[in-house]
Symmetry: C2
Subunit: 327 residues, 2 copies
């Protein structure tokens, strides 16, 4: 969460004038986004009745290169009925604008709040929304490699080093050493793939009651195993933040909601325990890397890697395989 | 700018339910406030037509003790026609609510953006708004000592030490050593006092074109020399950010706007060069203290103390006294 760049009112007004959205009325830097800066923008609207948008500034080359994929994916999914924010095209029809060495995009504002303690009803709705996304994305003709796939897990583990992982927690280092080679060797690359969100944590879902009003933050979206996205979402929604407490009702509701729209094949079902171990490994390792490379006194919140090491242990325990068994 | 505390949707919804403002529709942590956390909140509104608010969480004891002053001042000024946000009282009529050891207040959202390069027309409007605030505040019956007055300047200079100030810039240390005793000895305590904003930088003024739509961030508001507030505002608006470039047209417009509503007495006019030196000293010293006590790699933006040392030199130069002479 950050606002890296200061944009004065004059710059903001000039930027907003490049879009057909009325006059700038308000702009507040918001504490969202990890590597980009975001503002909640209000304008007079095309009809004078007011309109709101999220303005995002992308600062890093790698993110800017992928912008056409991310932004046209939003447009495609919105056009196919998914609750995702549309990209507002500028007066020349462009998806984003360059501003020096940065890029900016104007994105539809969606109502809703992110839940912290999901109910089964909310998990059911999220499962449905994820299936809807996968079905709609089947028609999207662009692809993007998963930069956080198995090769990256190995690289992160190597960078952390066994000693580094052990400095976080001795059992954690042993868990990675035991699980990682097995996951990579058995990763089910033969399963159906599609565009996936790959990061559908509660933070990235806007809800009003039990209705999903927005799936947001697609900056990890990529082409990968479809059922892996179910596993990531399961790991993200079915535990308390510490990873100690599994919620069986939320888990069952999430899977049932998903299968209402996209039933899992027997092969996908059978692979879910492995995919969920992989999902837990992915976040345990990226968090471990960030943990070791973020000064303890920095004002960025470090996320505890052990919260996902605990999930990994849960998924690796054969006694818990029933979680993914067909009801 | 910060959001220190995470508030989940469930906690936010429960909190908003304590106010008669409709249902929670959206909440975004915003990058404003130095020692408190802020959210831009949208609700369905009392009439279902939607409404927006700023929710502020106060984390520090000292700020919470002063909340009755700050929040009832906003109410008083708004009731007297000043463009300041009203405090939304809760269903029990309270100005703020306790949440554990913290406090939260719901404040009216005002449109407008903060300018970076003020025009003379904008400075004129800000001068008028400041005079309006001073006139209205005359009827406010609460008082608060200025925690950033001359005694605090001395304390900050002592804490920084001459060697510390010299480590920022050798000339800066000499300037403080020369100016500070003189300012304290001659500080015009006999001038009229009132409630003052004491921090009316462009960041704390919302504008649409040349109209002031909001004066915000009253957390330095206190009872002090009224003309000192004019001097603070002058130092904040009439220079470029580096303090190198003085804008005579903005200066003249600011003072003319102010005097349209509250003409300065001859004594106040005559004291302005000294008061402006004091204003520049106050920000130079608080910034120097923050500079020396903020790690260079922290993610908080350190503000350059020399930008106000340059203003101090400008105001101390007799050749510039004409800036404050009656036209």
């Amino acid at each position: 969460m950050a606002v890296y760049t200061h944009l004065g009112a004059e710059q903001l007004a000039a930027l907003i004038a490049e879009f057909d959205v009325g006059q700038l009325v308000s702009a507040k830097g918001i504490a969202e986004g990890v590597s980009n800066s975001n503002w909640l923008i209000e304008t007079s609207g095309r009809d004078g009745a007011g309109a709101r948008f999220i303005l995002t500034m992308y600062e890093f080359r790698i993110e800017i290169e992928d912008l056409p994929f991310f932004l046209s994916l939003l447009d495609f999914l919105a056009a196919h009925g998914c609750p995702v924010p549309r990209t507002i095209h500028d007066r020349q029809g462009q998806l984003y604008r360059r501003l020096g060495d940065k890029a900016v995009a104007l994105i539809e504002f969606l109502p809703g709040v992110s839940v912290s303690e999901p109910t089964a009803g909310q998990a059911h709705a999220v499962g449905r929304a994820l299936a809807q996304l996968h079905l709609a994305a089947a028609g999207f003709d662009q692809a993007r490699a998963n930069g956080m796939g198995t090769a990256e897990w190995q690289r992160l583990a190597d960078e952390c080093t066994p000693a580094g992982l052990a400095s976080i927690d001795a059992d954690f280092a042993a868990l990675v050493a035991q699980q990682l080679p097995e996951l990579i060797a058995n990763w089910p690359l033969h399963l159906p793939s599609s565009v996936i969100h790959a990061d559908l944590f509660p933070d990235n879902v806007l809800m009003l009651g039990e209705t999903v009003t927005g799936l947001i933050d697609f900056y990890f979206a990529c082409t990968d195993i479809t059922a892996y996205d179910v596993a990531v979402t399961h790991a993200a929604w079915c535990f308390d933040a510490s990873g100690r407490q599994f919620d069986a009702a939320v888990s069952a509701a999430l899977l049932a909601g998903y299968e209402e729209l996209r039933p899992l094949s027997d092969e996908e079902r059978a692979a879910l325990p492995l995919l969920a171990r992989g999902a837990a490994m992915r976040f345990a390792l990226s968090r471990a890397y960030d943990w070791m490379n973020t000064p303890a006194d920095a004002l960025v919140m470090r996320k505890d890697p052990l919260a996902f090491a605990r999930r990994l242990r849960f998924y690796a325990d054969p006694a818990n395989a029933a979680v993914f068994a067909r009801a």
